[in-house]
Amino acid sequence: MDQSNQAQTAAVDVSPTRRAFYIGFINGVMGLVGLALAAPAAIYLLFPPKLRKEAQWVKTSDLSTIPTGTPTEIAFERQRVDGWKVTNEKATAWIVKKPNNDVVAFVPQCTHLGCAYHWDDPSHTFICPCHTSVFSIDGQVLSGPAPRPLDRYLTQVEGGKLKLGPVVESHA
């Protein structure tokens, strides 16, 4: 191995050109190794999972049970792909039924920071308790820090039942 007599003549330090080569090699190779670890790690953490399931429609309440004109919060069960699991979870929506039976279903989170808002009957507005964003009955921002109107679920009525579909984000 490396215990030949040739080592005896080696200087305490290597020549400057060799030294530069060594340092360049060390930095270059270690940089490449770091990159070969960091790039897959970034992809692994940042790329979304290969979801194979479209958001689906869920049946909720009978439309006839929802009062006309007053926003009503309804609860329903839905399935959600959560990591390695499909979970059944309870979700809610604020439903506004118009006299002509048109239905709007709002996602129950404020568009500012996701707090749960509520319907305030006296002022006839949706009010978010966190940072006092105020929305009108059609979801428009009246005041407060909310950046855009309330998000909505797509809706369908089938056999008198209200069905909720994917969420449509509103635009500012």
């Binding site: 005896q8 953490l45 399935q79 499909v86």
Partner: protein, 576 residues
């Protein structure tokens, strides 16, 4: 940049510390043979890094571990690569640690004053093995489960300490939640910091005593940086390239979910434990303890005490014939035992592909002809449009009412959306090729109730139906074959609807069709040859009015249901 470094140096002394570390004096005889220690440290860093990444998407409970590993392997981009690096990295780390030890051993570098360095090193080898042992359980597949059952049973054979060890490993009753949590805690919480501390002590001791020089090396010393670091880097790069290729090319096993009832499974440890596995076979009965505890114990103790057994001064490598012979003999023995273990243990039949994968890949072809109802040689099943009056029967007429009702449920539930039939690409797997071990009604029913729990990674939504319907659905699915599927799916609506009405009204409690049901009342096969529609309708409304002494209660159906069940019954073929 310089000012930042100067500032840091002034406040922390970091620059001089790093320089002090890098510009250590090493003997002129140091060289390529001493790069393995650095490589071992590098592999430990890789294991920590990839292990942390895996932990970000891993659920450490027996209930979910397998699902989350499957999720990493199938859903996450780069997931298989990260797991591959961790899995193969573990094996390579062990190889490198052992090579490092062999190098130190044959050079005699453990001699005075380096005894403590050696003993810390032996401890690190044992920790590396403990990492392998505990990590083996974490995917919670059959391999992991059964391997750990054997390991914990071996631990229980230890004299005196056995029962306590077993309690400590949480596997007194069986390997389950407690064992799993303890292995996970050891693997991720206890062992990594312990390793870091011991590596620190190990390196400190190496620095304290200096790198061992060859005997008679009086040449002026050299610096560790950059020449030796360059050599270390070459070693690291070569090993890393091998690891990366392994992680990309070689498939990391993930077998079926751990199944304590799988009595056909042959447990097998990771390859580096196979020699122990084989040694065990030489000791029978009460002597088994010798192979499982005594011999390994003596070997580890001897390894620890080597510096005190071999106390002579360091001599030239060429003169250490005893050490070299010893290593060679050990290597031959290890290879022999490992080969014997591989050769004598029959292969397990299963593989990860055995599970129903929700992706489009089809499971290995299962014997589809084992199904109950439809003989595959049915000439007319290749011809779905055959008229029912033809001598060969329409496929649906070969099903019993429950199976036919299952077909109705199948269509009603929209199963076709994901399982469109053989030969067509759907989200779900081809139902005519369900693996043999899933061709059971109880399995299918459990699976319908909660698909993702039974088939990890499945995106199929739960089928929320009464037990009787799930049973019917399962029975129907089991009748599917590549030959009859298309014909079955074209069964007329009156037939499936009629069968569903027949099932919901429990007609089979008294009647029999196609050999299933009770014989309390007349069998209904070929009832259309004996009666007509008007008779049937009258009979349903008031059985006694057309059939004297009938004890059948009257049935009032919705018009649609009445139509369906009458048509269905009238079309029933006479039994051969």
């Amino acid at each position: 940049m310089r000012t930042i470094i100067d500032w840091l140096e002034h406040r922390t002394g970091i620059e001089s510390a790093v320089k002090n570390f890098l510009y250590e004096d090493i003997p002129a005889s140091a060289g390529w043979h001493q790069i393995i220690g650095s490589m071992a440290v590098f592999f430990f860093v890789i294991q920590v890094f990839t292990g942390a990444l895996l932990a970000f998407n891993y659920a450490p409970t027996p209930g979910e571990a397998y699902n989350s590993v499957k999720y990493i392997m199938t859903e996450l981009t780069g997931g298989p690569l990260i797991r591959g690096l961790h899995h193969w990295g573990a094996s390579m780390m062990l190889i490198i640690v052992v090579l490092h030890m062999i190098q130190v051993f044959i050079y005699g570098a453990y001699k005075k004053p380096r005894e403590a360095t050696w003993m810390v090193g032996v401890t690190l080898l044992l920790i590396t093995l403990a990492f392998g042992l505990t990590g083996y359980l974490l995917p919670w597949d059959n391999r992991a489960y059964w391997g750990t059952v054997v390991t914990t049973q071996i631990a229980s054979q230890a004299p005196l300490a056995g029962p306590y060890l077993l309690r400590l490993l949480g596997s007194q009753g069986a390997v389950g939640n407690v064992t799993f949590s303890r292995f996970y805690a050891l693997h991720t919480v206890l062992l990594p910091p312990l390793t870091i501390i011991l590596i620190g002590i190990h390196i400190y001791l190496v620095r304290k005593h200096g790198v061992a020089a060859a005997p008679g090396d009086t040449a002026p010393k050299r610096k560790f940086f950059p020449e030796q670091v360059f050599k270390d880097t070459v070693g690291v790069a070569v090993a890393f390239i091998i690891l990366f290729i392994m992680a990309v090319v070689a498939k990391v096993p993930l077998e079926r979910l751990a199944d304590p009832t799988d009595t056909a499974y042959i447990p097998r440890p990771e390859w580096y434990f196979l020699f122990l596995f084989q040694t065990l076979k030489f000791f029978k009965g009460p002597l088994e303890m010798v192979g499982s505890v005594v011999l390994p114990g003596v070997a580890v103790l001897t390894l620890f005490l080597i510096p005190f057994i071999d106390r002579g001064p360091m001599i030239r490598l060429g003169k250490r014939t005893f050490a070299i012979t010893f290593v060679l003999l050990a290597a031959i023995a290890w290879t022999g035992l490992t080969t014997a273990a591989v050769v004598t243990t029959p292969k397990n039949q299963e593989s990860a592909d055995d599970t129903e994968t929700p992706a489009t890949e089809t499971p290995e072809a299962a014997p589809a002809s084992t199904t109950a109802a439809a003989p595959t040689a049915n000439p007319e099943s290749q011809n779905p449009s055959a008229v029912p009056a033809a001598p060969a029967l329409a496929a649906w007429r070969r099903l019993n009412p429950e199976e036919l009702a299952g077909l109705g449920i199948f269509k009603k539930q929209g199963c076709l959306g994901c399982h469109p039939g053989a030969g067509q690409k759907g989200i779900g797997p081809d139902l005519t090729r369900i693996p043999a071990n899933h061709r059971k009604v109880p399995w299918l029913v459990l699976h319908f109730k909660n698909p993702s729990e039974i088939v990890p990674g499945s995106v199929m939504p739960p089928v929320d139906l009464p037990a009787a319907d799930l049973n019917a659905l399962s029975l129907f699915v089991l009748t599917l074959t590549p030959q009859n599927e298309a014909a079955l799916l074209t069964a007329p609506a009156f037939a499936t609807q009629g069968a569903m009405v027949y099932q919901t009204n429990h007609c089979n409690a008294c009647h029999q069709i196609h050999g299933t049901g009770s014989t309390l009342a007349p069998a209904l096969d070929g009832v259309g040859l004996r009666h007509d529609r008007a008779w049937l309708e009258k009979h349903f409304a008031d059985p006694a009015s057309v059939s004297k002494d009938s004890i059948m209660p009257p049935y009032k159906f919705m018009p649609m249901d009445l139509d369906a069940i009458c048509q269905y019954l009238l079309q029933l073929p006479k039994r051969a």
